[in-house]
């Protein structure tokens, strides 16, 4: 099922990846593994195979075998993978036993914070300014470590409340126990944000999937070696950015839920989106909704959620609703109900229940499957509602579109109503107003136009949508984020995600913080695998407060957050699509 497609683009739009440069993008999904080969920003080849869940390597070899039948791997410059390995490990509970040491301080009760039987609370903690309120008791920590060894626990997570204000205690605890354990994850490395319960969950998951993920990384490195390529390998993260594979082993949890991220980055690369926009991925069982602001995909404000674990992982904001082309349609207490169950494929493809897809076939919106079977299925609903089949099909189709549109509007409403904390932002009241609707997925063709009408913007169906994920992964740039806190009263500067706390002079200013932040972010991004031309630093938080004690200003509290936002690699995206 390999085919070859290419589009000409003008040569002045090519830069760093031009001249025989090939990128291999692979998306290992739950059902299919897709691969794309991109040369000079042209989609050169694409391939799709069924994912062998027992042996991912087989799928990888099969799909790339297809792809490289007539290509020379020597021309490869980069390989990017989007993988469900971390997600699946968590969903299927194939995780390591993790001992947790929590410096929880005052606040929520330990009973609320405890996430497994191996959670231990210790007496030290720091306060909201990062000032140590109670020191670490070394004996207490050593006793817990001994207990871990006795229990055969060799993976640990160390998480302090407000450790993003002062990572010192987490590091101190690690230094006490480090030599005795196989892997230790530290809370402040996961994110610079505040949220202790999420920090605990994130650190736990990071440690819990560490071994499995590390083994996967070795396999991938072997596999690329076997292909005869010696090129950088990148892994896609939940925020739609990539990081270099060696760096990824410290933060495997960043790779959870990268599937939806790949799909959104795919839409981005297939559409040249730079306005406020809606992206819909309509599948069989669910529809995923994503929103772009000025062409940049929105992130989850607090972090992504997986299997009930609320994490701090920066991830693209998606909303998944239980309605798709194969949703079961039934008539119950005078109402047509669509989804959330899927009984199987559409009736037109031999499924047991009527579905929106069958309705679209009856309406002549699409010419797939067995129309007689579709009509028979829709007739069963028509009989119950007491109207002709065509009318029932129309009702089902309209209702499917309407339910999706309502969910999109709710999501926009939620985003537009997010709380803000300054008078300026309240008065300014910036609101998203989507200019275009991008639709991918099986029923995109028959549904897009009507959805666009309901949402008040033109609909667009990108080409090559069936390999959007692999294209998105291939072209995603490396992202990074860095949080800085300066407390000039304490004379400390904390660079959170790097675990650094240093002394600063009295006159330290917000500009100093911004300059250091930008420089350190650049270093961090390069370390993560970014290319210089991809590092567009964006300041996402920049606040300064006078600290006043007894009517005298005693110092400044400066808070800076900088990022390289999700987007496509340089040289791509200048009025250009695959």
């Amino acid at each position: 099922m390999t085919d070859k497609v290419s589009y000409a683009i003008s040569s002045d739009e090519k830069n760093s990846y031009t001249g025989g440069t090939m990128i291999l993008g692979i998306d290992v999904g739950g059902t299919h593994t897709d691969a794309t080969l991109i040369e000079n920003f042209e989609l050169k080849r694409k391939a799709k195979v069924l994912t062998n869940r027992e042996n991912l390597m087989d799928s990888l070899l099969e799909v790339t075998g297809e792809l490289f039948k007539s290509e020379n791997p020597d021309n490869l410059k980069r390989v990017v993978l989007s993988t469900t390995i971390s997600t699946n490990a968590i969903v299927q509970g194939k995780t390591e036993r993790v001992g947790l040491i929590l410096a929880s301080g005052p606040g929520l009760s330990p009973a609320t914070l405890k996430i497994n039987d191996d959670t231990h609370f210790i007496s030290g903690y720091v306060n909201h300014r990062g000032i140590e309120a109670a020191g670490i008791d070394h004996d207490e920590v050593s006793r817990i470590c001994t207990h871990f060894r006795e229990e055969g626990i060799d993976h640990a997570g160390i998480v302090g409340k407000f450790s993003t204000r002062n990572p010192g205690q987490e590091i101190e605890i690690r230094d006490i126990i480090n030599d005795n354990l196989k892997h230790v994850s530290l809370g402040h490395r996961m994110s610079g944000n505040l949220n202790f319960p999420r920090r605990i969950a994130t650190t736990y998951l990071n440690a819990a999937i560490h071994d499995l993920y590390t083994a996967f990384v070795r396999d991938i490195q072997d596999f690329v070696g076997k292909m005869g390529a010696d090129v950088p390998i990148y892994i896609l993260k939940a925020d739609g950015g990539t990081f270099e594979i060696d760096q990824s082993t410290e933060y495997p949890v960043q790779t959870i839920l990268s599937g939806p991220a790949a799909s959104i980055m795919g839409v981005l690369s297939l559409t040249d989106c730079r306005e406020d926009a809606i992206a819909l991925d309509i599948g069989g069982t669910t529809t995923d909704i994503a929103i772009f602001a000025d062409g940049v995909p929105l992130l989850e404000p607090l972090g992504v959620t997986i299997e009930g674990h609320k994490t701090m992982i920066r991830g693209l904001r998606t909303k998944s609703i239980g309605i798709g082309g194969d949703s079961r349609v039934k008539y119950e207490s005078n109402e047509i109900i669509i989804g959330p169950e899927r009984d199987g494929p559409a009736a037109a493809f031999g499924g047991p229940s009527p579905t929106p897809t069958d309705a679209m076939i009856v309406l002549g919106l699409t010419k797939i499957g067995d129309k007689d079977k579709a009509t028979a299925a829709i007739n069963s609903i028509a009989k119950e509602t007491g109207c002709p089949a065509h009318e029932a099909a129309k009702t089902i189709f309209d209702q499917t579109c309407l339910e999706i549109a309502v969910s999109v509007k709710e999501m926009l409403e939620e985003i537009n109503n997010r709380p803000v904390y300054t008078v300026h932002e309240i008065l300014e009241g910036k609101k998203l107003t989507p200019q275009i609707l991008h639709v991918v997925g099986g029923p995109a063709e028959p549904m897009a136009e009507h959805l666009g009408e309901l949402l008040g913007c033109p609909a667009h169906i990108p080409g090559h949508a069936e390999v959007a994920n692999a294209v998105g992964a291939a072209l995603a740039r490396t992202t990074a984020e860095l949080t800085l806190l300066a407390d000039t009263e304490q004379q400390t500067l904390t660079i959170v995600e790097e675990g650094i706390q240093t002394q600063i002079p009295n006159g330290f200013s917000r500009d100093d913080a911004l300059n250091i932040g930008k420089e350190k972010l650049r270093e961090r991004a390069i370390k993560m695998g970014a290319k210089e031309e991809d590092i567009a630093v964006e300041v996402i938080e920049d606040q300064e407060f006078n600290m006043v004690r007894g009517f005298h200003t005693t110092g400044k509290n400066i808070r800076v957050k900088v990022q390289v936002k999700p987007g496509l690699i340089a040289g791509f995206g200048k009025e250009q699509t695959i």
Binding site: G107, S109, A134, P197, L302, P419, T422, F545
Partner: protein, 432 residues
């Protein structure tokens, strides 16, 4: 567990002045603690963006001189709007209770506003209460003001309203601004017992506050039977507060809110922004949401050193029972106090400490058994403004209304800067 709405508006870009206690930094550490505790991740704690109050909302209860726009900033509209959002969510049943964690505060703002008093320009609880009555029908409301300072503004606004029970618990006025709030201040002639003042001696701790709550406030609430309980939630009774002298704690505030079970809490004062507010606010939110708050403690919390003296305990026990007896006798006091008078007048000098304005006010109420009574106000301020206002009370009787309309029509306005006519029930606000 309860569904608790949180309206958080720290106004990070608004201050009275750069080093004033009411400044940008005030809720910074509270925000940090609330975020770090992950409180917004609880399914039963829901954050809402504050709406903005309108000048109509202010004119429903205040007489602003010369007008609302001149005495407030946008920040006041958002703060009052936050309280209104809290009320909407509760009254529409979206949540069981709500906490408006907003600034600037309002409980020192009186009915007539020439400027700012005690960091307050307009009274955000009163604006909220009258918004509720306008939009959700007449309600009996109890406001429990747990700020360390006497809420003289709220007291002034509800002095004549028999349907609003205003209870203030605060540090004794002989030792703290604004110097008022004694048990004898017991409500106007038409609303005796609808104002209750409970001054507490300096260095009162948890024990004293909770004694007053259990033995005085809760029994009175039982008898008053309010439709809504509002906590005017000042946080300056805390043992670390820089401008007061009390020994209340985060645990105490949480227990108080658990027992009081307010429908709506609105932040008032509290200026120990680093050592107290983060812990008190987390405690209040958890208590309102019915989540275990027993581990919310200040880093230097020490119940032994914070214990109040036996002398204070005895004083408070005696005072609580005296005030309760006074409340029991509220109906029989009216006869002695009013006699056969048709109108009762009170003359006051009011000082606006924040803006340095002095006001002389003559307030006259019509004695009425059928409503809160027609009110007229003569007010002259050091700004040079001389005003007269006719105020028809909410749920007014026909006599008070027609007399008020007559008085306003026949008032000679030539010697006045402004004349105001306010009729809340009919939604009329006139300025001449």
């Amino acid at each position: 567990m309860k569904r608790t709405g949180l309206i958080f508006f720290p106004a990070f870009d608004w201050a009275i002045s750069p080093t004033h206690p009411e400044r940008e930094e005030r809720l910074l550490y509270t925000q940090d603690q609330v975020f770090e505790e992950g409180l917004l991740d609880f399914d039963n704690i829901i954050e809402f963006k504050p709406g903005m109050a309108t000048p109509d909302d202010i004119n429903r209860i205040h007489i602003c001189v010369p007008d609302a726009g001149s005495v407030i900033t946008e920040s006041h509209l958002i703060s009052a709007g936050g309280a209104i959002t809290a009320a909407d969510k509760v009254l529409q049943g979206k949540v069981d209770n709500a906490f408006a964690l907003v600034r600037p505060p309002g409980h020192h703002a009186m009915r007539v506003v020439h400027g700012a008093r005690g960091f307050c320009n307009v009274n955000i609880e009163a604006i909220m209460v009258e918004y509720i009555r306008k939009n959700y029908g007449p309600k009996r409301v109890a406001i429990i003001d747990t700020d360390c300072h006497h809420g003289d503004g709220s007291q002034d606004i509800y002095w004549h309203d028999p349907d609003t029970l205003y209870i203030s618990i605060h540090q004794d006025g002989r030792t703290l601004y604004p110097g008022s709030g004694f048990p004898e201040e017991f409500g106007g002639p038409n609303a005796l017992g609808a104002t209750i003042n409970i001054p507490l001696p300096p260095q009162t701790s948890e024990e004293g506050f909770l004694h007053v709550l259990d033995n005085l406030i809760l029994p009175i609430l039982d008898e008053f039977k309010p439709d809504l309980i509002i906590n005017s939630a000042g946080q300056d009774n805390h043992y670390t507060d820089p401008i007061t002298d009390m020994r209340f704690t985060a645990q105490g505030y949480a227990m108080l809110n658990e027992k009081l079970s307010p429908d709506i809490a609105v932040l008032e004062g509290g200026y120990s922004i680093e050592s107290a507010l983060p812990y008190i606010n987390v405690g209040i939110i958890l208590a309102m949401a019915g989540i275990d708050y027993s581990h919310v403690k200040e880093p230097d919390y020490d119940p032994v050193s914070l214990k109040q003296s036996d002398e204070i305990s005895r004083y408070i026990e005696k005072e609580a029972s005296e005030i309760y007896n006074l409340w029991k006798k509220r109906d029989s006091i009216k006869e002695d106090l009013v006699g056969g008078a048709e109108y009762v007048r009170r003359d006051r000098d009011i000082y606006y400490d924040t803006d340095g304005i002095r006001e002389q006010q003559k307030e006259t109420v019509r004695i009425c058994n059928d409503c809160g009574g027609l009110l007229t106000i003569d007010s002259t301020a050091s700004t040079g403004n001389k005003i007269f206002a006719v105020i028809i009370p909410g749920q007014s009787c026909p006599t008070c209304r027609s007399k008020g309309e007559e008085i306003f029509a026949s008032t000679d306005k030539t010697s006045l800067n402004y004349a105001y006519f306010q009729d809340r029930d009919k939604n009329i606000f006139l300025v001449e």
